[in-house]
Symmetry: C2
Subunit: 448 residues, 2 copies
C-alpha cells in the first residue's frame, strides 16, 4: 500500500496525468478511499478529477465526513450535482445527516426532484433501525406476470436496482406477498406465472427492527438481501449483505469501546471533537472512580494490620491488578459466549464448575510465582510473609475467576448488557473484595 501511495505521489507531477489515471482505474472506490488522507487537499482534488465518473459517487460515500465536506466545497457545481445525484440513496442520507447545517442546504439545492423524493422518504426513519440502512432501489413485481415478463422487466430496470438477484412480489398496495430469486426464474419456464413459483414465506424485518438484529436475520438465513416492511406489510426497501457487514463492523467497535469503559457513539476518532471525546469518556471514568474509592475505606479498616505488617502495603497494587486480570479474563469469556448465543444462564452449573477448576490452577500458579518473586528478589521479604502473600494472591485469583464468570451471567439473566460489567467495572469490584480477602487471609497466616 505504501508503494501505491508513492506511485501516485510520483505521478502527481502534471506530465503524468495519463499514468495517474491508469493507476486509479485499477483501484476500487474503497481502495482509493483508504489512502485518501495521504494526499494534501490540493492533491486530492487533482486525483478526484482523474477518477472515472461512475466511481466518484462511490468514493465520496466511503470518505470521512471532513473529506466529504472539503470535496463538496471545492468542486464545481456541475460536478457536485452529478456526484450527489449518483450516490446510493442510503449513503446520500448519511452524508446529509453528517454535514454541517450550512453545507446541508447547499447539498439539498443540487439534488434532482427524484433524488429529493427518495431522500425525504429515507430521512423519516431512525438511523439505527432496519429502515436506516435500507435502500429503496429494490426490484418489485406483481405476482400475476409471467417469467418472461419478469425477465424483460429485470433487463430493463437492472441499472437502477441495488440487486436484481431477488425479485420481491407485491400487490397493488405494495404489500409484500412473496419473493423469487433470479435462480428460480432461470429454472422456470417462460410462461410460468410468478405467483406459482414464488416463495410465499418471505423472511423480512420491520422498519423499526434494530439494525443489529436485522443483520443477524440476514446472516442466519444466508440471504443476499432482506426486505424491510412497515406495519401494514408494505415493502419499504431492502437491506443488502454489504450493509450488514458495515453493521457488524460497527457493533464490533461498540463492544470494544464498552470493554474500554466508554459509551456513546462510534464515530471516527479524528472526526470527534475533544469535547466529544470527553463526553464519551468521563461518565464511566467518574462512576468507576467513585466506586473505586470504597477501597479507601477497606484500607482504613485494616490500618492496624498495615502498621503491624508494613510489607503488606508493598503488594497491594500487584494483588489488585492480578485479581482484576483474572476476573476480566473470565468475564470476557462469558460476555463473548453470551453475545454469540453459545452460553445461557442455564449453563451456569457447568460454567461455575469449569471456572472453579481453572481458578484453582491459575491461583496456585500465580501463588507460586509471587512466592518466588517475593522471597528471592528485591525488596525481598521473609519466608512466612512471602507464604502469606502467596496464599492471599491464590485466594484472590480463585475468587476473581469465579466472580468474573458469575456476574456477567447474572447481569445477562436480568436483562442487561453484560459488556459494561467486564473489564473496568469487574476490576473495581474485585479491588474491593480482593483487598478484603488479601488482608483477612494474611492476618490469619501471620496470626496478627
Amino acid at each position: 500500500m505504501q508503494n501505491l501511495i508513492e506511485n501516485l505521489k510520483e505521478y502527481l507531477d502534471p506530465v503524468n496525468d495519463g499514468q495517474l489515471r491508469s493507476v486509479l482505474d485499477e483501484l476500487s472506490a474503497a481502495e482509493i478511499a483508504e489512502i485518501w488522507d495521504n494526499f494534501s487537499n490540493e492533491e486530492s482534488l487533482r486525483i478526484f478529477a482523474l477518477i472515472q465518473q461512475d466511481k466518484r459517487s462511490d468514493l465520496i460515500s466511503e470518505l470521512h465526513i471532513y473529506e466529504q465536506e472539503h470535496l463538496i466545497r471545492e468542486l464545481s457545481e456541475g460536478i457536485t450535482k452529478t456526484l450527489l445525484n449518483g450516490m446510493e440513496p442510503d449513503n446520500l442520507v448519511d452524508l446529509i445527516q453528517s454535514v454541517s447545517p450550512e453545507l446541508r442546504s447547499a447539498v439539498w439545492e443540487q439534488l434532482s426532484e427524484e433524488t429529493r423524493r427518495e431522500t425525504t422518504f429515507l430521512l423519516r426513519f431512525d438511523e439505527d433501525d432496519a429502515a436506516g440502512i435500507m435502500t429503496p432501489r429494490y426490484a418489485a413485481i406483481l405476482g400475476g406476470i409471467t417469467v418472461a415478463q419478469a425477465l424483460k422487466f429485470i433487463r430493463k430496470t437492472m441499472d437502477e436496482m441495488e440487486t436484481i438477484y431477488y425479485l420481491y412480489v407485491v400487490d397493488k398496495l405494495k404489500r409484500l406477498n412473496g419473493v423469487v430469486s433470479l435462480k428460480d426464474i432461470l429454472r422456470a419456464n417462460d410462461s410460468d406465472r410468478i405467483e406459482d413459483i414464488m416463495i410465499r414465506k418471505v423472511i423480512y424485518v420491520h422498519d423499526d427492527t434494530d439494525q443489529e438484529e436485522s443483520a443477524r436475520v440476514l446472516e442466519n438465513h444466508g440471504l443476499l438481501a432482506l426486505p424491510v416492511v412497515d406495519r401494514f406489510n408494505r415493502l419499504l426497501g431492502i437491506i443488502t449483505f454489504d450493509d450488514v457487514i458495515d453493521v457488524i463492523r460497527e457493533e464490533q467497535t461498540e463492544d470494544i469501546y464498552k470493554m474500554g469503559a466508554m459509551g456513546g457513539n462510534t464515530n471516527s476518532y479524528l472526526e470527534t471533537s475533544s469535547w466529544g471525546l470527553v463526553k464519551k469518556r468521563i461518565p464511566w471514568l467518574i462512576i468507576l472512580l467513585v466506586a473505586g474509592t470504597i477501597t479507601t475505606n477497606v484500607l482504613h479498616l485494616y490500618q492496624d494490620l498495615l502498621l503491624a505488617a508494613a510489607f503488606l502495603t508493598l503488594f497491594i497494587p500487584v494483588i489488585t491488578q492480578t485479581g482484576g486480570n483474572s476476573g476480566t479474563q473470565s468475564s470476557t469469556l462469558m460476555i463473548r459466549g453470551l453475545a454469540t448465543g453459545e452460553l445461557h444462564f442455564r449453563d451456569i452449573g457447568k460454567v461455575m464448575l469449569k471456572e472453579i477448576i481453572v481458578g484453582l490452577f491459575l491461583g496456585i500458579t500465580t501463588g507460586v510465582v509471587i512466592l518466588t518473586r517475593a522471597y528471592f528478589t528485591p525488596p525481598g521479604i521473609e519466608f512466612l510473609p512471602a507464604i502469606a502473600i502467596a496464599i492471599s494472591l491464590c485466594s484472590v485469583v480463585i475468587f476473581a475467576t469465579v466472580l468474573g464468570a458469575f456476574v456477567p451471567m447474572l447481569i445477562h439473566k436480568i436483562g442487561f448488557d453484560p459488556t459494561v460489567a467486564a473489564g473496568p467495572l469487574m476490576s473495581t469490584v474485585i479491588d474491593v473484595c480482593g483487598l478484603t480477602i488479601f488482608f483477612e487471609v494474611s492476618k490469619r497466616i501471620l496470626t496478627l
Copy 2:
C-alpha cells in the same frame, strides 16, 4: 425465542409429530441450531427425524462439535451417509478436522467417491488461509462460448453451485482469465461471446492469503464472491459473502479476547476443556503479574514517605485503577482506529494534541471528584492532604491518557499488533509510572 422452545417441547409429545414438523418447517437451519441445546439428547434425535432432508445437512454444519458428534454416533448409517454427503464441502472439512480421531474414520467411510475427492482437495490447505474457507463449487466456463451457451450451462448446473451470480472464465488449464456476472449475461445478446463481455481485471486472492485480509478484499469491492487462485493463477475455489461474515465474527471474538488478556484460539467456551482454558489464560496472567511486581519495588522505594504520610496508602488502589482506566480508554480508541485504518502513525501530532486536551479535562474532573470524596466523606482526611491526592490523581490521569494513546501508535508503527497493549498491559505500565508520579507529586505538595 423462549416461546418457540416451549412450543416445540410441548409438541414433543408423540401425538403431535405433525405440528412439530410444521413448526420446524418454518425455521431455518440456523434458527434450529440456535435453540438446539435446549433439548435433551433424546429429544434432539426426535426433532432431527422430523426435519426436512435438505435442511439437515445445513443444520449439522451449524451445530457445536459435541452436538455433531452425538448425531453422527446415534443416527443410522443410511441417514448419516445422506447427511454427510449433502453438506457443503467447506463445512464438511471443518467437521472432519474437529471430530475425535475414532469418529473421523467412521465419517470418512461414509463419504462417496466424489465427496472424498473434494474433501481431500480442501484438506490440503491451512484453515486460516483464504483456501481454508473457500468452496470448490463455483461456476466456471470457457471464454469461447456464447451467452446462450453460458445460460444453458447455468440452468443445467445451478443446483451444484454455491452461487451462479458470478461465472468465472477459465482456460483449458483452469487459469482464471475473467469473470462475468449473471447481470452482464442478462444484459448481453444471446450470440455474444463470453470473452467479449467479461471483466478481465478480476479481483482475486491467493490460496495462502490470510482469511481476514480476504474478507477485507471482498468487503472493499462489495463482491458476492471472491475467487481463490494458486500461484499459477489456477482457480481453486470461491469465498462467498457468508463465509466472510463468519470470518469477521471470529475476528471480533479474537480482538475481544486479546483485550481481556487472553490469547490462543477462539473455540467455543463449552467445547474448550478446563486445561484448554488455563492454557489460554495463564501466559498473559503470569506476564502481567511479573511486570506488575515492579510496583513492589516502587512502593519499597517510597517506604519512608508512606510512614510519614500514612494516609497516602489508602489511595493507592484508587489512583492506580483510575490511571489504568483513563489509559485504557485512550489505548482502546487508538487500537480501534488503527484496526479500521482510520488512524496512522503520521496522525500522531493531531492525536497527541487531542489527548493532552482531553487528559487535562479528565484529570481536573477526577481531581475535583477525589478531593470532594477525600475531604468530606469517611475515612476523611485533612485539606492539604486531600489537595495533594487530588493534584496527584490529576497528574496521573493526564499522564495515563497521553501514554495510553502514544504506546499503541508506537507498537503499530514498529509492526506489532497493538491490541495486547490495551487494557491489561497498559494498566500494569500505568501502575508503575502512576505510583511514582503519585508519590513525587504528594511529596512536593506536603513538603516531606
